[in-house]
Amino acid sequence: MKPGRFKYHPPSSKAEALELKARYDVDGSFLAGGQSLMPMMNMRLAQPEALIDLNRVPELSYVEERGDRVVIGALTRHAEAERDALLGAACPLMGEALRHVGHQVIRNRGTIGGSVAHADSAAELPAALAALEAQITVESSSGERVIEATDFFEFHFMTSLEPTEMVTAISVPRLAPTTGFAFLEVSRRHGDFAVAGVAALVRDGRARLAFAGVTPKPLVVETSDPDPAHDAVAAADEVGLADDLAGSSRYRRRLIAVLARRATERARARARGAGEGS
């Protein structure tokens, strides 16, 4: 289990990284935290001609407040984002979702941008970002685009990124104290990818849910029904559910209902708690 041959480029600036990507196009892969790409390379399931290592581009690593949003640089490690006080205060759903990403040592190295660009349908971040109506900034040597998270994720491991583009930042909204939130998941073992997971936001009695692990891209459901399970399952049925070794579509359908209720309940309780406190 050793990687095949590749050319290695460690650019020191974003501009340089984008130039390299423009040169290699689909034959070049960005290497960020490597927690997904390196296993695939070790198994020789991925054999890029060139690796563009982003770990020497410090300008991609930051958490900043911009207006009513928090912007997270793509190279920010999961662990840094998880511990970030600004992000924790402004958008606590992110921290709750991040704690479900792998294990501590994985999060020490894995990056926000890497998870987003990798777009594993069973990963936690895409669902959290879809629930949050996050925006994803992508850049190429010829310019910048901002894409809604719900448009960014297209299918398993597929996004609306062009071959010459890189995810450079994501921005999430500051949540009002009266917005309830919750992230729950069912995984086989602690730290495993979600068999089914859900990010939930509740505002003014209305729930916005985004599920991980059940459909090729985050499944977003908005509902005002006191029991959100019905709408969630109906939305899932329209798309068709994943059916694999981790769980059949029938099992996932059941989990969607359970998680929808449990997450909404928790989010509602938090929204109420905040309301009473203020």
Partner: protein, 808 residues
């Protein structure tokens, strides 16, 4: 009186090296210039090789050689059948490299030797292999159907053999039964999965006559014997060392894997050291599996729930070959009846070939199955007759005063009649019940039924034939001057803490200071005879052999010291390495001094004549003149070799109980408590035994709810990575409450029984019983394991347990 070291709960003596990163595992062995091997393995489970083109791979820069079966010459022959049996009528073993037909995905079709593994993997991508797929057999039941596809084209059907045994008169007992229950019980395929994969480094002397093999194996001596035959050279020309080994659990206890002949063979061909370190994905198909058995069981009972007969015909999935014969089935069969009298037994099994990886022992080795069958059957009896799960066991237990308990007609895999040597099953059960506090648990369970998270309490007893197989030996020597005690034995260590426990035995018997004892294991050059570490036999054989050798050394030390101190041996005592006259502690010599006195040559840097003279003669001189320091009848040195071979298996036992919380909405399970009463006879080191038991339980938990090697119909493993084959983390396993019971074995001088496997054996039965109990209001009976959350949720749903509360 000084505190004994034998029986003491104490930390291990040999950890510092490992904790500082100074262990030497096989991939750490510093062999200069070693080339590295990568194997090309069949991607198909059953196919005919139509073409294999190795030329492009050979041309890869950095590649030294690429071998196919045709390159092996006379060595292209079947690997040995280790355990022939008259009823094993269709034995098949594989050749080192497949040449014509491949029988499982992962079978070796070529071998690449290169500068390093990176380059070898580059070359592997350039091998062109064309295969003509043949029908694949994966399902054991389907393999037995009329007209089933053939795993081996050259035989009829897929059954390798059928072995039947009988105790008493089961037919009559079934005729007279009040009630007969019939059920099918199943355990599925799993694997040992040690954290270190297999691996080896082979190096020949420049003439190509002597082989040095470092191998992560549990069995150095048997492998030496096999390789001597394979290469047709004397055993004395082969040295095999098992360095520090990162876990074994049986998968490294098999020997004559194809790689074990191919790597040494290539090293001789190339006149270079050659190394193969298995990678993790490769491990899933290159190293053996175990577990799939299907049992069709009939139980005859009286109206009081006394089981009068058990009939079990079962199927053992052996995988594509049977190099280990039908031993797994034989071990299973030998455990039938468990802790219960059950006077009439019929047990038979068939070995069934499938196009899958070969199955050989994994911790428990056939025993979890029979425990599952027997314990689940007892629970089925309890359910059918409305008897409590504790009570039904008490009505059937072998009495505490009924040992030794014989089952004439039934033999262990070693060929001994099953005679359970000692035990105290009633006592064991009482200890468990007391620890559990059932009334409180039943209350908590009732409360849980108001929620969607149901509590269940399950228990299972097990017995385990331990310490099988022939002898082990040990050599004990006291080094002159330093008094260091060196214990050397042939069997191996994969983490079982033998260095500490054997040191405890030697120190205790010898009267030596524990810190002065050093233990060496697993090297054919250091101890000439041995078998290996498997079947929970290290303590039974190895510790008994050390005890014998140390006893002989002690006797000699006392004999010599008696002469040195001019007293009778009976007047002497040994403590902390010093032999002193009872009641006169000032008059003494150290073991090191005696060892020096027992040396014909006392010369060295410290030739203080007065000091040497003061040591005195070790034995009466033959004349009053200057004579030899050692009597001519006495061998030099303070050393001895001891061997031990038990007359029969020792039977360890235990009872485990689990309190499990089942989330009926998601199928998630959580262990609330896990309580164990464990009896492995006399315990040498309780801390070490705790570690063995708890570790075994974690593997059992894996086999109950997480680990399942999932083959698809094409014979491909669908979860061949640690991402998908779910070994539990710390977050999935219970905190174990452990109680020891010690019923000494009469079959060895220390009274010990094996402890290595017991922890793993009953867990699937315990877990299944707890799930039953959680859903007991709904009439669920779990008769197959493992269960994943989806299956658990289905059980809950089918039972109706969540239809009424699932909406909360």
């Amino acid at each position: 009186m000084k505190e004994r070291v034998f029986g003491k709960r104490m930390p291990r003596t040999s950890d510092e090296r490992l904790l500082r990163g100074r262990g030497m595992y096989v991939d750490d062995v510093p062999v200069r210039g070693a080339l590295e091997v990568v194997f090309v393995r069949s991607p198909h489970a059953h196919a005919r090789i139509t073409e294999i083109d190795l030329e492009e791979a050979r041309a890869t820069p950095g590649v030294h050689a690429v071998y196919g079966a045709g390159d092996l010459g006379a060595f292209d022959r079947p690997l040995p059948l280790l355990f022939p049996h008259p009823d094993l009528v269709e034995p098949r073993t594989q050749n080192p490299i497949a040449s014509d037909e491949v029988h499982y995905a992962g079978q070796i079709v070529a071998m690449i030797v290169a500068e390093d593994r990176y380059v070898a993997e580059d070359a592997r991508e350039r091998v062109r292999l064309e295969l003509d797929p043949l029908p694949v057999v994966v399902d054991v039941d389907a393999a037995l159907e009329d007209g089933a596809d053939q795993v081996h084209s050259d035989m009829e059907g897929n059954v390798s053999g059928h072995i039947v045994q009988q105790v008493g008169d089961p037919d009559a007992a079934f005729r007279d039964a009040h009630l007969v229950l019939r059920h099918r019980y199943i355990l599925e395929r799993s694997a040992a999965m040690p954290m270190e994969t297999r691996g080896m480094v082979a190096e020949w002397d420049p003439r190509g006559e002597e082989l040095m093999l470092w191998n992560a194996t549990q069995v150095v001596h048997p492998l030496r014997s096999g390789l001597a035959q394979f290469f047709d050279i004397p055993e004395s020309r082969i040295r095999i060392t098992a360095p520090d080994t990162g876990g074994g659990f049986g998968v490294k206890g098999f020997f004559m894997y194809p790689e074990e002949v191919l790597v040494p063979w290539a090293a001789r061909e190339l006149r270079r050291p050659v190394k193969w370190i298995e990678d993790r994905v490769e491990h899933f198909t290159a190293s053996h599996h175990e577990r799939t058995q299907i049992h069709d069981v009939e139980i005859a009972v009286t109206e009081d729930g006394v089981v009068t007969a058990l009939r079990d015909e079962f199927l053992v999935d052996t995988g594509a070959f049977v190099p280990y014969g039908l031993e797994l089935g034989r071990i299973t069969a030998g455990q039938i009846g468990g802790a219960y009298r059950i006077p009439n037994i019929h047990v038979g099994f068939r070995g069934v070939y499938t196009n899958t990886v070969v199955c050989t022992p994994y911790r428990g080795a056939g025993r979890p199955h029979m425990c599952f069958v027997t314990e689940r059957a007892l629970d089925d009896v309890a359910r059918a007759l409305g008897i409590d799960q504790f009570e039904v066991r008490r009505r059937n237990f072998v009495g505490d005063d009924e040992f030794p308990y014989r089952r004439d007609g039934l033999v262990t895999a070693d060929g001994f009649t099953v005679i359970m040597d000692s035990g105290a099953y009633f006592t064991q059960m009482s200890m468990l019940e007391e620890a559990l506090d059932m009334p409180a648990l039943r209350e908590a369970q009732a409360a849980s039924r108001e929620t969607t998270k149901l509590l269940g309490v399950g228990l299972a007893c097990y017995v385990e034939s331990t310490g099988g197989g022939p002898y082990e030996g040990a050599h004990v020597i006291v080094e002159p001057d330093t008094g260091t005690v060196r214990v050397t034995t042939g069997f191996t260590d994969q983490g079982q803490s033998h260095s500490t426990t054997l040191a405890q035995v030697a120190a205790e018997r010898l009267g030596a200071d524990l810190a002065s004892v050093q233990v060496e294991l697993g090297d054919t050059a250091k101890f000439r005879w041995g078998i290996g570490t498997y079947a929970s036999r290290g303590a039974v054989h190895g510790a008994s052999a050390v005890d014998r050798a140390a006893g002989t050394v002690r006797d000699k030390a006392l004999r010599l010291a008696a002469n040195m101190l001019e007293v009778s041996p009976a007047d002497l005592e040994v403590e902390d390495g010093r032999i002193s006259v009872k009641g006169s502690p000032g008059t003494s010599v150290t073991l090191g001094q005696v060892a020096k006195a027992a040396k014909p040559d006392r010369y060295g840097f410290d030739n203080d004549l007065a000091a040497l003279a003061a040591l005195g003669p070790a034995v009466p001189r033959e004349s009053s003149d200057e004579g030899p320091l050692l009597h001519s009848d006495e061998e030099p040195g303070l050393e001895a070799t001891g061997f031990f071979s038990p007359q029969n298996s020792t039977w360890a036992s235990g009872v485990h109980a689990a309190v499990i919380e089942l989330d009926t909405e998601t199928g998630a399970v959580r262990f609330v408590r896990y309580v164990v009463v464990h009896d492995c006879g006399i315990v040498i080191n309780p801390l070490v035994v705790d570690g063995q038991v708890i570790g075994g339980i974690a593997q059992g938990v894996g086999g109950s709810f997480y680990e399942r090697l999932a083959y698809d119909a094409q014979g491909q493993i669908q979860n061949a990575s640690l991402m998908d084959f779910l070994i539990p983390y710390a977050t999935e396993v219970p905190e174990v409450e452990l109680h020891h019971l010690e019923t000494p074995s009469p079959l060895n001088p220390l009274g010990v029984k094996g402890a290595g496997e017991g922890g793993a054996i009953p867990v699937p039965a315990v877990a299944a019983a707890a799930i039953d109990d959680a859903l007991s209001a709904f009439g669920v009976a779990v008769r197959r394991m493992p269960l994943d959350p989806e299956e658990l949720m289905d059980l809950a749903a089918a039972s109706g347990a969540h239809s009424d509360k699932g909406d909360r």
